[in-house]
Amino acid sequence: MPECRLRINRYDPAADGELTWGRRTDRWDEFTVPYEGTMTLLEALFYVQEHLDGSLAFRYCCRASICGSCAVYIDGRYRLACQTNVTRFEGKTISVAPMPHLPLVKDLVCDMTSFFAKYEYIKPWLIRESGDPEKEIPQSPEERKKLDMPIDCILCGACYSSCPSVWYQDDYLGPAALLKAYRFEVDSRDEARKERLPRFDNERGVYRCHTIANCSEACPKELNPTEGIQWLKRATVRRRIFGRWK
């Protein structure tokens, strides 16, 4: 039976104490996991948790790359554990670590509090001024097509973890929240004027993005937050020059 070897970065607050923000322990545990045919990294983590070390902590839910729970840092790359096949590593030891630059809860579980606080801050919901019609708000296929990219965000946090501007300015909203702002600003049904734009038209917002594009490289759904943020920058400039909100 083939085997894969995992090297997992561990953290237990009871044993390791509090860590400085974003720091990691140097504690790595190695496990050997047998499999038949094929196995995802998430399945390998479950094998470890069930048979080798019940204390291992990681997030999971859909195992089909749509819930955004299991983003981890594998051999220096952001991946969804459920979408990563262990056979691709061809017998080499696979290093598995929590996403960098985020506070930790335990082992591979990061604290996502600041991530969701910034998401909420950006007002990620449809803002309407006119009343809603009895039926649907009409939207053409061309208008709808503009939403294709940003609505596929699964809020896994990989982009946020990868962004150097977030690392050095912890009040920067980061790529995920700004992509969400973009998602609503480009929606033909959204009528926000002053409500949302002032929240990203500043140093905490779009101007902190230096188009490093780590976010677009990190995204396991192959989305492009950088592109969305540049669109928002242009929108803020249009507002300043022409006074137009949209």
Binding site: A57, C62, V105, F116, D148, I151, I154, L155, F184
Partner: protein
């Protein structure tokens, strides 16, 4: 350990739970949602194909009406659905979908700007509204966003382990705070929540099977809690097997693949559905299609004689697949290594949906005052013996909304007084302490030897459900399965937990959820064994026909604490609109 108080507690952050929470919040109620995962990660988000409503937007669906939608649903249910409730759902459908649009849901569109609709299995008209092939994801995120807009209190990563029942009324829940539990304190991370109403919205129990499309958290937890608290479960023997799960991972390939024109092919390259449903072909209801696939496999016409057939979408072309089924293409490539644009996709029927659940009325009320249920964990029943594709997303927002309304109506008065008494007498503190004691007891199970490994029991249970309660069933097979389940239930009392408390204690969560999974499996098995007919998803080779004279009734399973087996009784199906007739497609 803390005792939190809110007027309304919603357990589960998927579509049904969030829709209920929104409705209550809009009525000015203080509502809190407790969810094992961030609500945006709930299993509702994995739904792909769409949501049914007679909007009559499709050019070929101009004559569609809620009544026709109700007829298709009842016929699809093999006449086990309660007809007035089903009609109510179909009448509510257009309104709740327009509301989701107003809140921002990005449905796909027609050129005239209206919501697009595609054909789905068992439907007389194309009435399935969709957002590409990620409809659940879009609906879920829309409701999550709306919860943030309204400022609904979210307890994220709180795992509910117990209902608090006092004086014959549900007054709250006990939950484990997954990220906040520091160390191995006395409380082991458990807290109590008191509320005038508690809504269960925890989803299905797909994980009692080894071969399921469901998320790993779909263990039926809420249904198990209600069942233990004395609330009966309805029609648990009706388990839906989806025709098209990916061979290796069992991840769902939406019915929309066939709605968009995909074929099912056997080893001979035949579109074999013409032998089983000559008119509907690949768009027959799921029970019929799953049986057809399994029959082909049993008769040796699986691909290479193996246990799978092909879902062929090559003729749709790259452009159409990119527009309508982009997520399907990604899943097939990532999880099966097959690109549907150039290769047929190997698929196999998999457990997909729990038709049964907590017995509720059309407004989510259970027999236990203060306790409500909505979504897949509930059974109204609108799906009967077989759910139509596109009706589960609909069920979540229709009955989530209705349940929110009813829970609010019943607040105040005795409901409020009961919570006051519970708070004054320290019921919450005691319930959380009891839960901590129970969990520490699981740790001590290892002390005297003879303890059981919870993962071995889980593994054996899920495999036996797949072997003994799958697409085709008979007396001998089911009796053996039930006997083995009851032995597992005995063993499950002695499961050993390695340690209690601490943050993100997966060992504790997965051990605690096992006992409820076994009980749900036993309820499904017991109901199936007794029902001597074939109806919808429950197909018996020893009783191949539907028997309306004896079995046009719902199974109601009651948990009996001292017994291994549930007590079963029955309730007549509510008819009145459509006379039962033979199903032909």
């Amino acid at each position: 350990m803390s005792v939190f108080r809110h007027q309304l507690l919603v357990v589960g952050g998927g579509l049904a739970g969030l829709r209920a929470a929104v409705e209550a919040k809009l009525a000015g109620i203080d509502v809190a949602v407790l969810s094992q995962v961030h609500p945006g990660r709930s299993h509702s988000g994995a739904a792909q194909g769409g949501i049914n409503a007679a909007l009559a937007n499709n050019p070929e669906g101009r004559d569609d009406t809620p009544e026709k939608h109700a007829f298709d649903t009842v016929k699809g249910s093999d006449y086990l659905a309660d007809q007035p409730e089903t009609l109510q759902m179909c009448k509510d459908a257009p309104g709740v979908i327009y509301t989701m649009d107003h809140w921002g849901c990005p449905f796909s569109r027609y050129d005239d700007g209206r919501i697009a609709q595609r054909p789905f299995g068992g439907a007389g008209f194309p009435r399935t509204c969709y957002g590409a092939d990620k409809t659940g994801h879009y609906l879920l995120h829309t409701l999550v966003e709306h919860c943030y807009k309204l400022g609904i209190t979210l307890y994220v990563e709180f795992f509910v382990t117990q209902l608090i029942v006092e004086e014959g009324r549900c007054v709250g829940v006990v939950a484990y705070d997954m990220t906040g539990a520091a160390g191995d304190g006395e409380d082991a991370g458990f807290h109590s929540f008191l509320g005038e109403a508690t809504i269960m919205a925890t989803g299905g129990a797909g994980r009692i099977y080894s071969n399921t499309t469901n998320a790993i958290i779909s263990t039926g937890g809420g249904a198990g809690l209600a069942y233990h608290a004395g609330v009966p479960l309805e029609d648990m023997e009706f388990i839906q097997f989806h025709p098209t799960g990916l061979l290796t991972s069992n991840i769902l390939m939406t019915e929309g693949c066939r709605g968009e024109g995909g074929y099912l092919l056997n080893d001979l390259g035949e579109r074999f559905m013409e032998r089983y449903a000559p008119k509907a072909m690949e768009l027959a209801p799921r029970d019929i299609t799953a049986r057809a696939i399994w029959t082909e496999i049993l008769e040796g016409r699986g691909i290479g004689g193996k246990e799978y057939v092909y879902l062929d979408m090559r003729h749709l072309g790259e452009e159409r697949i990119a527009e309508r089924l982009p997520g399907i293409r990604d899943l097939a490539i990532h999880f099966e290594g097959v690109d549907p644009v150039s290769e047929p996709v190997p698929i196999v029927p998999c457990q997909h949906y729990t038709m049964g659940g907590i017995d509720t009325d059309v407004d989510g009320q259970t027999v236990l005052p203060g306790l409500y249920a909505a979504g897949e964990c509930a059974c109204v029943s609108v799906h009967g013996a077989n759910r139509l594709g596109g009706n589960s997303l609909l069920e979540t927002i229709v009955f989530g909304r209705r349940t929110g309304v009813r829970a609010v109506e019943n607040m105040g008065g005795e409901a409020e007084a009961a919570v006051e008494r519970a708070a004054a007498s320290g019921v919450g503190e005691k319930a959380a302490a009891d839960m901590a004691t129970y969990v520490r007891g699981l740790v001590r199970n290892g002390d005297d030897g003879g303890s059981e490994d919870p993962y071995a029991i889980r593994d054996e249970m899920t495999r036996l459900m797949r072997e003994h309660f799958f697409i085709f069933r008979d007396q001998e097979m089911m009796q053996e399965g039930l006997d083995r389940l009851l032995a597992l239930k005995e063993r499950a009392k002695r499961v050993h937990l390695k340690y209690a408390g601490g943050p993100f204690n997966l060992d504790m969560i997965r051990t605690v959820e096992l006992a409820k999974m076994v009980d749900l499996a036993v309820a499904a098995a017991a109901g199936a064994l007794v029902r001597t007919e074939s109806r919808g998803s429950h197909a018996r080779t020893d009783y191949p026909d539907r028997n309306d004279a004896d079995w046009l009734k719902h199974t109601i399973a009651h948990h009996v604490h001292e017994d291994l087996m549930p007590r079963l009784d029955y309730r007549a199906v509510e008819l009145g609109l459509f006379e039962p007739q033979e199903r032909k497609y």
